[in-house]
Symmetry: C2
Subunit: 208 residues, 2 copies
Amino acid sequence: MYEKARIGIDPVIFTIHENKLKVLLRKREKEPFKKKYELFGGLIEKNENAKSALKRKLKEVLDTNKFFFKQFHTFTNPKRDPRMRTISIGYVALIEKSNVKNFNDWFDINKISQTTNHPLQTKLAFDHENIIRKATIFLKENLDFFAKHLLPDKFPLNMLQSIYEIILEEKFDNRNFRKQMINSFVKETEEYEKKVSHRPAKLYLFNG
Amino acid sequence: MYEKARIGIDPVIFTIHENKLKVLLRKREKEPFKKKYELFGGLIEKNENAKSALKRKLKEVLDTNKFFFKQFHTFTNPKRDPRMRTISIGYVALIEKSNVKNFNDWFDINKISQTTNHPLQTKLAFDHENIIRKATIFLKENLDFFAKHLLPDKFPLNMLQSIYEIILEEKFDNRNFRKQMINSFVKETEEYEKKVSHRPAKLYLFNG
DNA sequence: GCAAAAGTGTTACGGCTACACCCATGG
DNA sequence: CCATGGGTGTAGCCGTAACACTTTTGC
């Protein structure tokens, strides 16, 4: 016989800060998983679809409407929440760092997943470590489409390169990287960086 | 306040038959959407995850365990089922045609989506036309990984090429196609096609 | 004038595209 | 011997990779 379930949404919220890929987490104050870290999830309400629930939750958590998100996988293990059957729709969410109010609760992705080797002693609540792992893979696979949401409208090409290098954990040749981006995704503006104590960079825009 | 929902799984089951990409559908016998066609969906039961529910359902519908499937999107519109709130996890499922028992209920994908231009008069129940459309896009985008599940273990290269051509609706140069596949996905065997009234093709296998 | 980061051009290589004819088998 | 589909090689082009020095600004 079928069983009804609560429908959760779990956004894995990423930003780039201090040259690290970071995820927003909070510490649980109640059981289960008291004092473990978790994603800022929520539940879908009556007459609401997942997208609206997600927007509502992100607005509440981030205190802005300036974010991007995309669904990547739905998690349905019947024991994933020990209290009550709850499935969760996983989203990747991206916010540009100048829209972030404070960086207290943001964690370096590489500091989180280093616990992966200790399956019995995970730092994270529920299946959230798994959700974050899958979200990170999804982010890497789709970086060409997602990178713009981690940048201001106008940005120096080297900032774009550094986002690729941080997320893909790989260095790129500066000349080749510029050529590729100009050929496919970005175009130059007439503006320049300001107030930097070195040669100011030309600013670029994403096409389309 | 949150609302519990039924959790459905909706596999879009594809095969290649008579040089067409076909989807398995059934005609509804009851309201709502009586006499419209629908996917062979199901509901997740107690203590069951989506993957098990899907396997159970596919086994029942296809009368075999020889199929492949992959989750691609979850549909959550609160009005998608007029009877009761039901979200649905969409899967692409693939079956090789020699494992199909009969082809009565299989529909050419291009005959289904030609109704897309008439939004007020869809042939399909619920949001299943939308689910099929998204599944088809997902199949196209991932064909390099999925093609093997539409073929027998050992197959002629030209059969692989025809699968690419049917699904992507695009012709490929035979020499170039062979070189690419041999370089990346397949290797030859020592076996040949049998009982064909022309030069028998060498059979190939997927790597790994 | 020094520190810091921006910006730029060329060559070599490899992969991709375009293209047309011969081969093996059954009937 | 004919019909049917299987199978093959090469040359040109294009994109990618490798590589190091000059420029602009603030201080």
